[in-house]
């Protein structure tokens, strides 16, 4: 059926074109022989092809364009005809004798164009007559095309300021009046299309309508090109009249398109000065109109305008653009109770962008927007709508992009409240965005309060926000996220040790809730930044203020101890062990023997109780030995204990070569070059001997097993010692 329809349409179009061409041929002949009578007759017949109702707008346009070309030739002929002495007034009457209205009006517009050019009558009179006579075509498609023809031929003949058609009687007011009237009538026709034909073809009709919308919008474009329209006239006449039509037509498609058109074609400066009027129209639109898009575009344009030059900013202040927009959005949301939350958020997001551009110094505005958004969101469940959440992310990212400084965003009290409405997934994304922003800009966040606020924001990354299980979370993504958190922790820094300590405590508080999966990522950076602090403290001279009671290395180590302990619980013993050793080394540097000893103890406990894998053991023991070797705070007794333990562990390693290597490594523990008290040659020798023994054993074993001299290397290694 449908295929048939299309085929038929092709056929009708072909027939139409054929008829048109045939008559155009006769018309040409008449034109060539200067036969006015025949020219009129055949041109009317030619134009009669446009009377068809069978074509879709698309196909009709094709036919129209052909007729349009022919009419250009006819217009030339009319021009010559008047030069030959034919009175243009007579010609203007003559074409009106045609019996069929559509050809008559096309001819009238064509002659009218020549009439205006001849300047025998004021342009405004001719224009007025034409636009009035065109009322005779009430069929939507034919009317739209006819009026679009009128708009086309009259375009360069409007009595605009500076135009040759401007005169005493013709002013720009007349030009505006003409275009407005044509616009109004065209819009009426366009809207009427919606209500014609069977209801089941609604979709098709809407498609057809959208094909025709530019014909209507063209009028607005013409208006915007009229030089003579200054701000006053725009304010007093043009905008109110256009808006009146837009509001009154009560048509969703038209309202959406035309509002957008107004915003796009007229200068930003005008919009700014007529914000009241323009915005006043929005709540009056049909509830189904997609206002959010239109308003967003308006705000976008205004933002860009504001960005274009600093000179225009005072204008924004003068007209109180922000509060007007804010009010308007409130009203629109009120007027459209069914507006999906997506729309609401989009609107606020645009408003936020606007205020960020225009009033970057007015944080309170931004906060106000966020507050309004929270208010709108409150009472709703977390957002399910993907698009809406996306918009919130955009909304929240805007201040970050603008200020390049999370610190500013942290001042927005409503910021975290908006974030709460995101689902945990998106929340994470947002948190990542925040972190990236920080890293990109190398923002320094140097007070505990802000850190607190920041971690409040990114808590989606720090811990599982809800009970939902995210088994399906991609491992890589997770790592990525946590790595960024880790990087963030590294970035937190304050020169004031006390403040830094507070920051560390705050961070610690937050990350400890992170659960076993996160801790391995988050604890190390914290530990290291703590250690950095320790070093910093150590580097300083005795604190001149003497009020170090809150931030002593000791205290820090205490905190560290607890922190690392949590790691061992989760369990990540290797990591914990490493960290303990790091701490111990730091403590060593601070000459805090008990602390260092404590750390070592912790490390040993871990080694004994948690590290069972032999490879891990080897690595661990080497670490222990290495660290221990560098320690110098220990007294003889402590050192002995630790060293013996280490040697003992070494000897108990599972594989002989490992044992051997560990043991000869231990020998270093007894000989530290720069420490006189630790030069126990005897013990060194003992260790080496022991190592040799083990090596022998190892060689025997391997000989027995494989008959090769695989372990000779061990001897060589020992010898190197």
């Amino acid at each position: 059926m449908i295929a048939d329809g299309v085929e038929d349409e092709e056929k009708w179009l072909a027939a139409g074109i054929a008829g048109l061409q045939q008559n155009a041929f006769y018309m040409h002949r008449a034109l060539d022989s200067n036969n006015l009578r025949d020219a009129l007759k055949y041109s009317a017949q030619m134009l009669s092809e446009l009377r068809t109702s069978r074509l879709s707008p698309h196909k009709y346009y094709e036919l129209y364009m052909r007729a349009f070309d022919e009419l250009r030739k006819l217009e030339m002929f009319f021009k010559e005809e008047t030069r030959r002495g034919c009175s243009i007034v007579d010609l203007y009457e003559l074409v009106q004798h045609a019996g069929n209205i559509l050809p008559r009006l096309y001819l009238l517009c064509t002659v009218g164009s020549v009439y205006i050019k001849s300047k025998e009558a004021p342009a405004k009179d001719v224009l007025k007559d034409l636009v009035e006579m065109c009322r005779g075509i009430q069929h939507p498609v034919r009317g739209l095309f006819l009026r679009s023809y009128l708009a086309q031929v009259s375009r360069d003949k409007l009595p605009d300021i500076g135009s040759e058609y401007e005169g005493d009687a013709d002013t720009v007011v007349d030009a505006v009046e003409f275009v407005l009237q044509n616009f109004t009538e065209m819009n009426k026709l366009w809207v009427r299309m919606q209500h014609q034909g069977p209801a089941r073809e609604k979709e098709k009709r809407e498609k057809e309508r959208s094909e025709l919308r530019d014909l209507v919008g063209k009028n607005l474009h013409v208006l915007s090109q009229i030089e003579g329209i200054d701000l006053d006239m725009y304010k007093e006449t043009v905008l109110p009249r256009v808006l009146e039509q837009v509001v009154n037509c009560k048509d969703e498609i038209a309202q959406y398109y035309l509002m957008d058109c107004i915003i796009q074609v007229f200068p930003d400066e005008y919009h700014l000065q007529t914000l009241d009027v323009l915005l006043g129209a929005f709540p009056q639109l049909q509830p189904t109109v997609d206002i959010k898009t239109v308003l967003s575009r308006l705000m976008e344009r205004l933002s860009n305008y504001a960005a274009s030059s600093a000179d225009v900013l005072p204008e924004f202040l003068q007209v109180e653009a922000f509060s007007k927009l804010n009010n308007a959005i409130g009203k629109v949301i009120e007027a459209q109770p069914d507006m999906p939350i997506l729309g609401v958020i989009t609107l606020y997001s645009s408003l936020l962008t606007f205020t960020l551009h225009v009033h970057p110094d007015r944080l309170d505005y931004a906060d106000q927007v966020l507050g309004a958004c929270v208010k709108k969101l409150s009472g709703k469940e977390k957002l399910e709508d993907k698009k809406a959440t996306k918009q919130i992310v955009a909304l929240l990212s805007a201040p970050l992009d603008k200020y390049n400084d999370i610190v500013t965003a942290l001042k927005l009290s409503n910021y975290p409240r908006v974030m709460e409405y995101l689902d945990s997934e998106t929340n994470k994304v947002m948190a990542t965005v925040i972190i990236q922003s920080i890293m990109k800009n190398k923002t320094r966040i140097s007070t505990a309060d802000r850190v607190e606020a920041l971690f409040e924001l990114i808590k989606g990354l720090i811990k599982d926000l809800d009970d939902a299980f995210h088994d399906e979370v991609d491992e890589d993504d997770f790592k990525e996220e946590q790595n960024s958190v880790a990087r963030l922790i590294q970035l937190l820094h304050s020169d004031d040790p006390e403040e830094m300590f507070k920051i560390i405590c705050t961070v610690r508080k937050h990350i400890l809730g992170g659960g076993p999966k996160r801790l391995p990522f988050t604890v190390p950076p914290l530990v290291f930044s703590s250690l950095k602090l320790v070093r910093q403290l150590q580097g300083q001279e005795e604190n001149p203020f003497g009020e170090e009671e809150s931030t002593t290395p000791k205290k820090i180590f205490q905190v560290l101890n607890q922190t690392v302990e949590t790691l061992s619980n989760i369990p990540a013993p290797e990591l914990a062990l490493q960290l303990f050793l790091q701490c111990a080394e730091a403590a060593n540097d601070c000459d805090l023997e008990p602390v260092a000893y404590e750390f070592f103890t912790q490390a040993y406990i871990l080694y004994e109780e948690e590290i069972s894998d032999s490879r891990a053991q080897v690595t661990a023991i080497h670490l222990i030995i290495g660290t221990l070797q560098r320690m110098h705070v220990f007294g003889v007794e402590n050192r002995d204990t630790l060293t013996h333990k280490a040697t003992g562990y070494s000897a108990k390693l599972l594989k002989k070569p490992d044992q051997c290597r560990a043991v000869y490594a231990c020998s270093h523990l007894f000989w530290v070059d720069d420490q006189d008290n630790v030069k126990d040659g005897e013990r060194v020798l003992l260790c080496l001997k022991r190592a040799l023994r083990i090596a022998n054993a190892a060689q025997q074993m391997s000989n027995a097993a494989r008959g090769s001299a695989g372990s000779v290397t061990l001897f060589v290694e020992i010898l190197n010692k």
Binding site: E93, H97, G99, I101, Q138, H139, G143, E185, R192, Q196
Partner: protein, 324 residues
């Protein structure tokens, strides 16, 4: 019959010329055989003067019982063809009985002739003016020659010329108001008007304005009426479909406000501009000599999608205005 005689060899050539024939306006006239010839134009109370020349064929003489010229105003009904009713008949004797040997010319004059009716060629009748020259003879029949001329009478512009306003419709389906700027138009006039659509609930396809001529002949039971549509002028393509509730509101509003007319309502009005000059109209003729009348009507026709026609007919008077 006369032509038949003319076809045979007549005994003489008779020609009738008007004394101001060269300067007088000539207008086309359609003859019965379909040919159009140019003839002189007169109006009432003009003097009709001229010459009649009679030229016998070579070497022949015409014996006659007298020569006369008549000015006849005739009405011919087509159902009674050949039978003329003369409403005007003037005679001038040109010659006493005698013989004509050679070309002879007689001047004649009918001064200030009352010719109240205009020449008219209708569907069922015609009204004509003719000069008839008769050379009476005893034998061979009289020789007769005719010369047609046309009479047109001009009227001054009417002192009262009201517009026509009407409100018509079908209950709850269609309400329109229309307005023609005048009730009396001259032949080259333009009808200007507007049609206001107050309520449209039927699907109108288009709207035409027709000019119809109603020619009635005879009287009483024998009255015969012939109506012709002389012009069909499309006024509107498609229709302004109004949101019906609004339309109804406006309609009631109009009713309430005592026909304050539609002027307050923007849009939904369709302009009328119809030039009368391209159409072959005549003035309105009322009861011409008790024989016939010719009246003109404007017929506003709305055609819906099922090709049903809704119309309203209004008489307009047409008069002939002196060309300025």
């Amino acid at each position: 019959m006369n032509f038949l005689i003319g076809a045979f060899k007549p005994a003489c050539n008779i020609s009738i010329t008007f004394s101001d024939g060269k300067s007088r306006k000539q207008v086309p006239m359609k003859k019965e055989n379909g040919k159009t010839i140019m003839v002189s134009l007169f109006q009432s109370k003009e003097s009709i003067a001229g010459k009649v020349s009679i030229e016998p064929l070579q070497g022949k003489k015409i014996e006659h019982l007298g020569v006369k010229v008549e000015l006849l105003g005739q009405i011919e009904m087509y159902f009674d063809r050949g039978n003329f009713y003369d409403f005007t008949s003037l005679v001038r004797e040109l010659d006493v009985p005698g013989d004509i040997y050679e070309r002879k010319t007689y001047p004649f004059e009918f001064s200030t002739v009352e010719m109240p009716y205009e020449t008219y060629n209708g569907a069922n009748l015609r009204l004509r003016y003719v000069l008839k020259v008769t050379v009476s003879r005893n034998y061979g029949g009289s020789i007769v020659e005719y010369q047609d001329f046309i009479v047109r009478n001009y009227s001054p512009p009417p002192s009262i010329n009201n517009s026509i306003k009407m409100e018509v419709g079908i209950e709850d389906c269609l309400h329109i108001e229309f307005e023609y700027n005048k009730s009396k138009y001259h032949l080259k006039d333009v009808i200007i008007g507007k049609i206001y659509f107050l309520l449209v609930r039927i699907k109108i396809k288009n709207m035409d304005l027709e000019i119809r001529r109603r020619e009635s002949t005879g009287s009483g039971a024998n009255t015969h009426v012939e109506t012709e549509t002389l012009a069909k002028f499309e006024l509107m393509d498609g229709a302004p479909v109004r949101d019906t509730s609004i339309a109804t509101d406006i309609y009631h509003f109009l009713k309430d406000s005592a026909h304050n007319h539609v002027l307050g309502i923007e849009g939904e009005s369709i302009p009328i501009r119809l030039f009368l000059s391209p159409y072959e109209l005549t003035p309105t003729y009322r009861n011409i000599n008790n024989k016939f009348s010719v009246k003109y009507y404007l017929n506003l026709v709305l055609v819906d999608e099922e090709d049903r026609r809704y119309f309203k007919q209004q008489e307009i008077a047409i008069y002939r205005q002196q060309d300025s």
